[in-house]
Symmetry: C2
Subunit: 339 residues, 2 copies
């Protein structure tokens, strides 16, 4: 009684393996001991990182000293560098270029003991504002074509440092996955005259299926065909392709629902490792006030409770052992009670 | 001094992060205790699995009793079933179908203690023959469009059973990743009049770069832009799109190089978990003797020594902290000495 489901936004097929239909208690997230601080990201350790490019919450203190609430620094071991060049060269069929780009770390709190979900809503809002400011700044560099913000929490999700942080990587080419999503979105817009994600919001709200939470400006849902168990998308109700254009009220609302969902995942699944990624449209070439009808920014949250294996690597076809409608119900039941 | 490299076969960009340039001793594969047998895949336990659909090496013994060397059974908890239907239905924008397909387990040896790499070359050849026979058989089912053979070894690579085995999944749609590879291959053929992998073989042999091993019918290389450290491809020297058409001599040669590479990876990296996947062209519709100029079957081996994280999930852009040319040298130096 398994089902094959197609994700309309990514064009990717997923096998919903109802034979297995695992429950939250079937997953055992690894228990991770928090190593004692202070670490390189702690307040008081500012001299151990590269010079900060952004900070928030300072009440008159000088850069690279304590007093900040959020701090952004270049990655000490960057995958890409702004001083590099972008110039394709080919050796026969093989193309390469210098590693132009940016790789920054957003330190979410000066406190070694806290996770992002433990912060107050207004502190989470400061983290999201930092994302937006850094994206705006890098967007001015016309050599860069795309900027992704992501977070890895827990060693199994790829985090090598435990102190709460996110990362930003800007690259000189639009990544393939983004191109594919844009292609699907453009095709849908061409055929239907509306944004594919605006349509999915309408369908999900009207059916009431797979909704985890809703607030003034956002809907949090399990997608119809998610790759991973408990994969959750937070989507703004109003159409907008660019995160850089999000206004202050919307940002507060985003912080509110993000905190709620992260706490729900933590409670439902026993504090699992997770990744999240901000999906946005690429920088508009030439700058100006960007507008795009056929894409819709959103955040994808992926709890790490299963392993990706040969089948997925060989096909990009995913097997999800949890029925999405049940995953939504599980998370919804675990949400913190409203104040 | 990082580089961005483009994989011509997949069209995917990879960041070769030379800042990190990790060495084999930087990776610590988890030590996995082998749980004592017998397990469900052991000789003598045949009644605990579904009825076998194939076996090899029996010297007169009856099916589902001991005496086999390789045994293929349906997966007890299949992701897909041959009794299901394929009939797309849509609810608004959401498409789904019943879980038609096949999901089988290829038990590689009756011995609980051995890994695939520990088997004799002629035993590995029997495993590869089983792959081919099962693919041929499923190809006759015109409802199925693609068959992937893969292997997960080690818990971190997604294996839940330790006894040496591979899996086969056949699906009623051509997976997106396969479509993309076929698209790149077709484009290359249209522009250059030759198979993209035949060309890469010529370039790699003439430059001598990234070659790990070569025998009569195969080349084993680290690709120019591999997603993962020590990712190795085993590619037949002669053009052929379909694994089902491989002849006996070629199969013996494939077994020989596969054993050598698996032992090299085991020695170089301390017996890491790994996945491998057989990449082949999709079934030709309507059967007959298939031929395809623009694709070339091969095996991709992915040692699991790093974690996939938010950047990769959000972009399909991979960061590889090992320079491919050095990875090839490391594996080459670890190959078993010729008899």
């Amino acid at each position: 009684m398994s089902e094959l489901r197609k994700n309309p936004v990514t064009g990717r097929w997923v096998i919903v393996a109802t034979e297995r239909n695992l429950k939250p208690y079937d997953f055992e997230p690894p228990f991770e001991v928090r190593r004692p601080g202070p670490c390189v990201f702690c307040s008081g350790m500012e001299s151990t990182t590269p010079q900060e490019v952004y900070s928030a919450g300072r009440n008159g203190s000088t850069p690279n000293t304590p007093g900040w609430k959020v701090r952004v620094v270049p990655n000490k071991f960057p995958a890409l560098r702004i001083e590099e060049y972008y110039s394709l060269s080919a050796n026969g069929m093989y193309q390469k270029t210098g590693g132009l780009g940016a790789h920054e770390v957003i330190i979410e709190t000066p406190d070694h003991q806290l996770d992002l979900a433990d912060l107050k809503t207004e502190e989470i809002e400061m983290v999201l504002n930092a994302y937006q400011e850094r994206m705006r700044d890098l967007q001015a560099d016309q050599r860069l074509r795309y900027c992704i913000i992501f977070k890895n929490q827990g060693a199994q999700a790829g985090a090598s440092i435990q102190h709460a942080h996110s990362q930003l990587i800007a690259v000189p080419v639009v990544p393939k996955l983004v191109q594919e999503e844009l292609h699907e979105a453009d095709e849908f817009y061409r055929k239907n005259g509306e944004c594919i994600i605006c349509r999915s919001l309408q369908e999900d709200i009207s059916s009431g299926k797979r909704i985890v939470s809703r607030n003034q400006f956002f809907l949090a849902t399990i997608p119809f065909a998610p790759r991973f168990p408990y994969e959750t998308w937070i989507v703004p109700l109003s159409h907008e392709a660019f995160f850089t254009k999000v206004d202050k009220n919307t940002m507060r609302s985003f912080a509110d629902i993000l905190k709620k969902i992260l706490l729900g995942i933590k409670l439902a699944l026993g504090n699992p490792p997770f990744n999240y990624m901000l999906h946005v449209a690429p920088y508009p070439i030439g700058g100006g006030s960007p507008h795009r009808e056929s894409y819709h920014w959103h955040l994808e949250i992926l709890p790490v409770v299963t392993k990706v294996a040969g089948f997925e690597w060989g096909t990009d076809f995913y097997i999800n052992p949890v029925i999405p409608e049940e995953a939504a119900r599980t998370l919804w039941e675990s949400l913190p009670v409203e104040d």
